[in-house]
């Protein structure tokens, strides 16, 4: 009923993809040795210099056409690069949204001028995007957004408020989902997307501090902010279809289940010297869960590398649900295995990782579709399938 057309028994990676993995791993080993970054769990660190290094190696915009600065690689190449960056907990926050969400949307819906303007600089690791979707009264019920865009000569005027826009205060641009015709009976209609350069007149960005007082979330206010016609993304009125079109890849990627993997790997090295049976069983169990989730995720990436747009949104919802819960199981298992005090400010890397994993735990099952919404999506599909 799910994964009906998925072949889990032919997921071998082509040789050049394995070689690419090795290349990324060697690069990351070198960087760590030079102390260019430290392992950090959670949202990932914003590090423009690191993003430029990643970009110069061709690891941003991997699947995009060369004429837009991409590398015409496969989804499997993207998959292994993502895996290695996350396993190393590398500081990828700066280019993350642009690479995995904004870039693909520009390719699919953008005009040639929009692509020319943004994609090559994104691929270089020099241009960063933020997301303007959620609003104070529109979380899971995204179609209820109220930020509106009014037609004016040569463009649109945006008025309203967006929230949870990660790194908007350091981004060069953001996509804003707006209502372009009044809320009617079909609330998925009348929505449109706009590209807004940041900063711009009429736009105010204010921090929403995370529970540990860190600043990555923002609220973004639009006060009749002008957006020229050529910055409409895709078609007016097609915003809903556009924002939901990339969900299969967004919800099934390694970033949905790998956020605490560096902690698990650290535990394995720490336990190496004196494993008892409980430790062995717990580690074995976690590895089996991880590997099985990864198989589903890899199967989806593989299907994307073979077909143009496989319909796997429900499967992806399921991967995200299981994957995000797995991340927490790692943290809990560690707490059963060690008498260790989680402390985000500790000099001891292990205490610090555990502290970060604990603090960031609530986020992954909320952002990008809550557990409850995802399970609703899966149940709806089941209801229609039998």
């Amino acid at each position: 009923m799910l994964f009906d057309n998925t072949d889990f028994s032919s997921l071998e990676l082509p040789k050049h993809v394995s070689e690419l993995r090795r290349e990324v791993r060697d690069f990351l080993d070198d960087e760590r040795r030079q102390g260019s970054f430290r392992v950090h769990l959670g949202h990932g660190e914003f590090d423009a210099e690191f993003s430029r290094k990643i970009g110069s190696r061709g690891w941003i915009g991997i699947t995009w056409p060369r004429k837009y600065g991409g590398h015409e690689g496969s989804y499997l190449e993207r998959f292994v690069v993502t895996e290695e960056l996350l396993a190393a907990a590398a500081p990828v926050a700066a280019h993350w949204v642009a690479d995995r969400q904004s870039g693909p949307s520009l390719l699919r819906w953008g005009t040639d001028a929009q692509r020319q303007k943004y994609l090559p600089v994104i691929a270089k690791g020099e241009c960063y995007f933020a997301i303007g979707m959620s609003e104070p009264n529109s979380g899971s019920d995204l179609a209820s957004v109220r930020t509106r865009a009014e037609k004016v000569p040569d463009g649109w005027k945006l008025t309203g408020q967006k929230v949870w826009s990660s790194w908007a205060h350091r981004a060069h641009a953001m996509f804003v989902l707006c209502r372009t015709s009044p809320l009617g009976e079909k609330k998925h209609e009348g929505l449109s997307q706009f590209i807004v350069d940041l900063p711009s007149p009429g736009i105010t960005i204010r921090p929403i501090r995370f529970l540990n007082n860190e600043h990555h979330f923002n609220e973004v206010f639009f006060d009749e902010a002008f957006v020229p016609d050529e910055m409409v993304l895709g078609e007016i009125g097609q915003g809903w279809r556009q924002v939901t079109s990339e969900l299969a890849l967004e919800r099934s990627g390694p970033e949905r289940y790998m956020n605490t993997l560096p902690l698990l790997l650290a535990v394995i090295d720490r336990l190496k010297t004196s494993p008892d049976r409980m430790a062995r069983v717990m580690i074995g169990t976690l590895l089996a869960r991880f590997a099985s989730i990864r198989t589903m995720s890899l199967a989806i990436a593989t299907q994307f590398s073979r077909e143009t747009t496989p319909n796997l949104a429900t499967e992806a919802a399921l991967v995200k649900d299981i994957g995000t819960h797995f991340e927490r199981e790692v943290t809990e298992a560690v707490k059963m295995l060690f008498e260790v005090t989680p402390a985000a400010d500790s000099d001891d890397e292990f205490e610090r990782l555990l502290g970060e994993a604990t603090i960031f735990a609530p986020i992954s099952t909320i952002r990008g579709g809550t557990t409850q919404i995802l399970r609703g999506i899966v149940a709806k599909r089941l209801e229609g399938a039998v």
Binding site: P14, S18, A291
Partner: protein, 359 residues
């Protein structure tokens, strides 16, 4: 439809003919379903993945896994995995002629101690084995003894052992067999390096993992259908979010079990990191069996625990298969020991490795 879909479609029809309560209950009393075995023999499925040169039906381990998975889905009480994936494999590898009929399979080692020695120019062996699948129905049992250099494959006809009838939770024959100075000619005992007790255990665990994934698919179907039909408070219970949430979790367990089981089948077929892949699959399938069966029962309410309703044929099997060929705890212990003795870098390599990386 591609070849694999055609095969699955044809096999499903054979299994479905026997998937109804009276026949399943009869199989539970008898320990197996003789008519289903006969129907499967006609299709050649009972020797799938055994090379044609050795008297088998050919086909890959992955194809065999797909067929065995469907057997798990439709509660097939027959030694399909034992005959094709285990006994057939061992006999073909050891160069022993394949007897006709259903075959039982056993791995000798603790706690199944069978002594093998030579007397008067022939092999003799004594000892007993517990929980042997379908020993009472088999024309012969194939045993694998030992590891690496000193492993042996034995093919012992049913006349050489006594059977004491036992069953697993689902009523599938899991007999105790006793050998007492059983005599076997040299042709039935072969030393072989490639067929080891450990590889046999691996294949057994793979078989149970794919069977469990099949059974999980079935209980997901049943539970979804039930939730759509069953009305309470004036509407089908599937309309309640609390029910939808649980149903989605069940779908997740079924999907992840299938993913890891079929990935393990590919690893066994390629003989590449098979130990790790099978450990992943057996652990995950076992966990999914527990979580999935309990959701299926919860959503069915009391009707699900009655003898007249089909659900228990699947859930009893899930609970039984979980502990056969190594429980989750067994495989997790092994896997954990391996991981902790090698360290994180090797573990990451092992998980992300691909068949193509083989040196």
């Amino acid at each position: 439809m591609n070849d694999s879909a055609l095969l699955q479609d044809a096999v499903s029809r054979v299994f479905l003919d026997f998937y109804e309560n009276d026949r399943l209950n009869k199989a539970r009393r008898d320990g197996w379903c003789a008519e289903l075995w006969a129907a499967l023999e006609e299709t050649g499925m009972t020797l799938i993945s055994v090379p044609e040169s050795a008297g088998g039906s050919g086909g890959s381990v992955v194809e065999a896994a797909e067929v065995i998975r469907l057997g798990g889905k439709y509660c097939a009480s027959v030694p399909l995995a034992e005959t094709a994936l285990l006994a057939g494999w061992a006999l073909a590898g050891a160069g022993i002629a394949l007897p006709s009929g259903p075959l039982a399979f056993g791995i000798v080692g603790r706690p199944n101690q069978v002594e093998l020695h030579r007397r008067e120019g022939a092999w003799r062996f004594s000892g007993s084995m517990d929980h042997v699948p379908w020993a009472r129905n088999a024309s012969a049992i194939v045993l694998v003894i030992g590891s690496d250099a000193d492993s042996k494959v034995i093919c012992a006809p049913a006349s050489t052992y006594q059977v004491e009838r036992h069953a697993n939770l689902a009523g599938e024959a899991r007999d105790r067999i006793v050998f007492y100075e059983a005599k076997l000619e040299d042709a039935y005992v072969r030393a072989t390096a490639s067929i080891t007790a450990d590889r046999a255990l691996q294949r057994g665990a793979l078989a149970r993992a794919v069977q469990m994934s099949g059974a999980l698919d079935r209980i997901l179907e049943m539970t979804t259908q039930y939730a759509k039909q069953r009305a309470q408070f004036g509407r089908p219970i599937i309309k309640f979010q609390a029910v939808q949430q649980e149903l989605a979790r069940l779908a997740g367990e079924a999907a992840i079990a299938k993913a890891s089981a079929m990935a393990a089948a590919a690893s066994v077929m390629a003989d590449y990191r098979a130990n790790t892949a099978v450990a992943f699959a057996k652990i995950k399938a076992g966990e999914a069996a527990q979580a999935g069966a309990s959701i299926a029962h919860q959503l069915h309410g009391a009707i699900g625990v009655t003898d007249e309703y089909l659900l228990h044929h699947s859930t009893l099997r899930l609970w039984a298969w979980r502990s056969e060929y190594g429980s989750e705890a067994y495989w997790a212990d092994r896997l954990g020991e391996y991981a902790l003795s090698r360290g994180a870098a090797t573990v990451w390599d092992e998980i992300t490795g691909s068949v193509g990386d083989q040196k």
